[in-house]
Amino acid sequence: MAKAKTWIEPHPGGIYVKPADLWIDPSRPVERAAVTHGHADHARSGHGAVFATPETLAIMALRYGVDVAASHNRGFAYGDGFELGGVRFSFHPAGHVLGSAQILMEYAGERIVVTGDYKRRSDPTCKPFEVVPCDIFITEATFGLPVFRHPPTAQEIAKLIGAVRAEPDRSVLVGAYALGKAQRVIAELRGAGWDAPIYIHGALEKMCALYAGHGVDLGELRLVSEADKAEMAGQIILAPPSALNDRWSRRLPDPVTAIASGWMRVRQRARQRMVELPLVISDHADWDELTTTIAEVNPGETWITHGSEDGLLRWCELTQRKARALHLVGRDLEEEEA
């Protein structure tokens, strides 16, 4: 078991797999990178070769112009993988965003799983997380404190729809991260029966189209830039969080500002963001999901990449599980994206 430390090295800038000379989610350009998902703090541009799911490659192509067709970049469906330097790599659903994967590595009889970011509750835009048994479980801990318990998504979506209906002369502007959260909120709204056109900021357009191209039904989307102010009254508008209080929002009919994020659980945080309608909708595992997942995977050792690692470490200690924090750097988008 202790062999793992001879073939895998956690560095501040990513996880290095020695026998394969490959990095997982490196923060700097490298020769060979395996990428868990398309968020910018995991997927960077400039790598020599990228190994990821086809959806993640498509997202990277859209964001960074990564050449998907180039033979050195390879896409693998869930369950598939490749072998390099004696290490068997395979991709398994993480339930975080479209194409997000846990990466399982098998080498010399040892199994290591890198989760990237993940969640356990249902998401109409991506495949649900699968428990992959392993010896070392390398997990995120964005919400690694017991104060984070995301309420049921349906309850938050109902809150959003209720807010729009309560003030038909206004609009509700939802700040949602451009990759993943925005599409999920739209898909959840559709699932809850919201059939009206949903208005979007231009920055969301291409990613929504990409999701739709992958079979995620987002219904009718309209660009705010092409809409009349009057027609958006009583409607739902989505924008990246950075646009919420920007000049852009002046074209909207008296918007109620909302943010969809796990951080909205904490009132003072929501207040600081000038939010009127906090929606606790997260693409990251909450405390119960994190702890349940560790218990279900039941690894020999748990490594924690980023987030509130102190809380999760403490829980591991209390439940007598071997664990350590890796202190990976550059995972700084969480505030916006979680």
Binding site: K119, R120, R121, S122, L145, P146, V147, F148, R149, H150, P151, P152, T153, N245, D246, R247, S249, R250, T257, R265, V266, R267, Q268, A270, R271, Q272, M274, V275, E276, L277, P278, D288, E289, T291, T292, A295, S308, D310, G311, R314, W315, L318, T319, Q320
Partner: protein, 561 residues
């Protein structure tokens, strides 16, 4: 508790005053007694449960949540009540992402870690109603339970209440129990909501409010037309203040108006009725606790209106600046040293009632006559009479106003001699004629986005003046004085000249001169420049003036009073 929790949540995230008002109005109309009364008392911080304090809540949490996880959580959240509300274990509730898996099995308390034996025993000794209780927990049930709590059974009682609520409900309960609601609802706003909810005159609500304790049942009965207006005989109730308009007329005839100095303190009303003496501030908030020496010294069955001031050494025992008075405000208890260093007194200018007789319908001249006879009955150590300014005519008055050097003089009050004392601001009865504002040319340093309608505009500006060393030091912050057009221009300036961003704040290129008007300027330890302005506002945007030619700190120091 659900409706109350929802109300608090909405209030937290609602910034506009009118929207807050609408939320409370709606709540008062649709919530039964006595819940709404207790709720409004909680919102205005009028409840106190001596047995329930933050330390007790922390100790209670320690029996349910492991200490280190609590500490980390508290550190992250920054508020004990909210941390406790979020952490409180909901045992037996299935995980939201998968049916049938109980949080408890691997959650906080029921895992391999167990609470210390001592606390476990303690909580099992007390017999309590079943955690589920009967139906939804009401605000009044919670208040009753908390009021009955003693220090020894309070933890168990609070725990049984928390067990019956969800996270939002727990937050509401803990805020109700501990105070520190911080939802931006003043007592004044709550009373306005009451008046609006039941369409009754705000002046009546103001008068009645302090006379009736929570949950205000007679008040609601009156509001809903189910009962007569409550009788306030022998009660030290608040009378709404008579207010003044700014003087805009060129000149007025002093035969019709009496002139007094306008003092730069805080307006207070002191009421003695029954056996109680109470001091009310302008908004009708009771501030008796902050000024115990005045409560003790006011021994006459009367109601006075006056200016609360602090005696200052610099002025040779006369009224000190507002700055000194600020040391005394907002206190629940006053240390002895504070009483000695900042002795308070009231400069009395009106008499509203005496020996049970309401003088408010009488003309000012008659009230003044009675006032002059009454003030000598009060201890001169704590009360004096506001003097009438003897001016030959309006021009003479203008000269005296211009020549007034006393730091505690803010301007002149003009009161119509034949006017009764009426609540609020009535045209032509009272005028305030402030001293001309001071101005300084300052340089914009930082800008912050506003609230509500101004959320997308950089509308709050921090500005500075030059030190002798040639450094720009902040001297104040202003968010008014400009037109909508000017705001648009300023917003664009900020966006086009941003140097740094710190969350909602932007640091800007130090190139724009703002002419800032302010009522007075004081020394302050809070700012690096050592200065603090009163009522600063943007008087003009000086695009014509180079930043280097803005005023120096030394110039402002010379204006300090």
């Amino acid at each position: 508790m659900k409706a109350f929790a929802a109300l608090i949540d909405r209030l937290i995230y609602t910034r506009s005053r009118n929207s807050k008002l609408a939320l409370i109005v709606d709540y008062l109309r649709h919530t039964p007694d006595p819940d709404r009364g207790w709720a409004i008392a909680a919102l205005t911080e009028s409840l106190d449960f001596p047995a329930v304090k933050a330390a007790m809540v922390r100790a209670l949490l320690a029996t349910r949540v492991e200490e280190e996880l609590f500490r980390l959580s508290r550190h992250f959240v920054g508020d004990t009540a909210e941390t406790a509300a979020l952490l409180w274990p909901e045992s037996g509730k299935p995980l939201p992402f998968r049916e049938g898996v109980g949080v408890g099995s691997i959650g906080l308390a029921q895992g391999r870690w167990t609470p210390p034996a001592a606390t476990r025993e303690q909580s099992s000794q007390v017999s309590l109603p079943s955690p589920e209780g009967e139906g939804e927990l009401s605000v009044s049930q919670a208040v009753d339970a908390l009021s009955a709590a003693t220090r020894s059974d309070a933890p168990a009682i609070l725990a049984s209440l928390l067990d019956r609520l969800d996270a939002d409900g727990r937050y509401a309960l803990l805020k109700l129990a501990l105070g520190g609601m911080r939802v931006g609802v003043s007592a004044r706003l709550a009373r306005q909501a009451f008046a609006q909810a039941f369409d009754v005159p705000i002046d009546d609500v103001e008068e009645l409010w302090h006379a009736i304790p929570p949950p205000y049942a007679p008040l609601f009965a009156w509001g809903e037309g189910r009962a007569e207006r409550p009788d306030l005989k022998d009660v030290a109730f608040f009378r709404p203040f008579m207010l003044a308009h700014p003087l805009e007329e060129e000149s007025i005839d002093l035969a019709d108006y009496a002139a007094e100095w306008k003092w730069d303190g805080i307006r207070v009303q002191i009421v003695r009725g029954g056996s109680a003496t109470r001091i009310y501030s302008r908004g009708g908030e009771e501030i008796s606790a902050a000024f115990p020496e005045l409560v003790a010294a006011f021994d006459q069955e009367a109601v006075i209106d006056g200016e609360l001031l602090v005696r200052g050494e610099v002025q040779g025992g006369e009224a000190a600046s507002f700055n000194a008075l600020q040391q005394r405000l907002g206190r629940k208890t006053v240390p002895k040293k504070m009483l000695a260093d900042y002795p308070a007194f009231v400069r009395v200018y009106d008499l509203l009632a005496i020996d049970g007789n309401d003088l408010r319908p009488l003309p000012w001249t008659e009230r003044r006559r009675q006032l002059e006879g009454f003030v000598p009955r009060l201890a001169d150590s704590h009360f004096d009479l506001s003097q009438i300014i003897e001016a030959r005519d309006f021009d003479d008055l203008a000269q005296r106003r211009a020549g007034a050097r006393d730091a505690a003089i803010e301007g002149v009050m003009l009161k119509r001699r034949d006017a009764p004392y009426v609540a609020g601001r009535r045209a032509g009865l009272w005028y305030k004629w402030k001293r001309d504002p001071l101005t300084a040319d300052c340089v914009m340093m930082y800008a912050q986005r506003g609230n509500g309608r101004r959320a997308s505009f950089y509308s709050d500006y921090t500005f500075g003046c030059w030190s002798d060393a040639g450094e720009l030091l902040p001297v104040g912050k202003a968010y008014s004085g400009f037109t909508d057009e000017e705001l648009k221009w300023l917003d664009k300036f900020v966006r086009d000249n941003t140097l740094n961003r710190f969350g909602p704040v932007r640091e800007v290129e130090k190139s724009l001169v703002l002419e800032v008007a302010f009522d007075s300027i004081h020394s302050s330890k809070r700012h690096k420049s050592g200065l603090a302005m009163r009522f600063p506002r943007i008087a003009r945007i000086r695009r014509d003036k180079p930043a280097e030619e803005a005023d120096r700190i030394a110039t402002l120091l010379a204006m300090v009073t």
